[in-house]
Symmetry: C2
Subunit: 208 residues, 2 copies
Amino acid sequence: MTTDRSATAAGTSRDWRTFEPVPLTPILAGALEAFYEHGYHGTTVRDIARRVGVTVPALYYHHPSKEALFVTLLLLGTDDVADRAEAAVADADDAVQALSNLTEVVVLHMTTRHKLAALDLEARYLGQESRARYAAPRRRIDALVDRVVADGVESGQFHPTDVHEAARALLGMWQSIARWFRDDGTLSGEEIAARYVPLSLATVGHGG
Amino acid sequence: MTTDRSATAAGTSRDWRTFEPVPLTPILAGALEAFYEHGYHGTTVRDIARRVGVTVPALYYHHPSKEALFVTLLLLGTDDVADRAEAAVADADDAVQALSNLTEVVVLHMTTRHKLAALDLEARYLGQESRARYAAPRRRIDALVDRVVADGVESGQFHPTDVHEAARALLGMWQSIARWFRDDGTLSGEEIAARYVPLSLATVGHGG
């Protein structure tokens, strides 16, 4: 199944490295700022409407609830990075290149889109149906990291003590970047990605 | 397992490996459950009072605000793990042992006390004064990880591309455990710690 995706993505050769700004409507852009600053529970529909400069009924005309706004933003980011991650891995000839590309694309997501990426921290507060919708792209990414690490073990390039734990550790390491990254920080997304490629390879026991 | 290891650690200033239950008053225990389930913004003082079975005025008699309750819990966990981390590093003869001990103690904190540890995710919603109080033990831990990685570089045992970034990656990897750990999961805290020791050593480029 994943191999089919890789084949397709390799054929289309998507430019997974270029993170253009995510096109957001004014309401979604305002909601993202509010969720980033005050969290899911700390934000009300009224706050978002005031921030955007629309009435509450006008906001409800486009989005049925605060949860719907949150899930729309959450899926926008996660579906996109899952697509890019699959393209990045399809672009690689071996496990070392695959993990390098995967690290690069996920770290670029965590930095250039850190406000979208940070929504993940609060996904657990959503209702069951919303969490299930979010779980789908999350599972694609988790499975991809597992597969890349397992491929590297099979090819003799990686030597982790435990494939799944190493994959989970990589995801934790990458995701934490969205918590500290700031647009006005000293390092750009590209510079951070360049540092995390050797760190990630080392974590799975690829001799430097 | 904890008992065996405690015996090995006998003679040291502090038994940093034994995580006894944190003694919490009923109000603090109820507040911790509420914050864990619904987050800082999703919890009200009224929710906590109802959960504990006290009146709101009775709760305010002991704790001036929701923020005060949150900060008390946050510092209980973080001050304790900072003390333990320093004892764990003091117990080591070289950088490899220091990073192994440090990984073990932080992972045991993230697992056996994962509800306290998860509060860190929402510390950014606190007011400036509370954030400053929390920053003190956090800085002790951050500085300790930086120092241990730098010591290993100096002794020629670690080979990270960048000392500070490797230290930050380790912290991100460890902290993320509190997000997925469950008491009824398949792995115990000790088992997870045992897996993260080689992963952490690999991350800083210690040849396995």
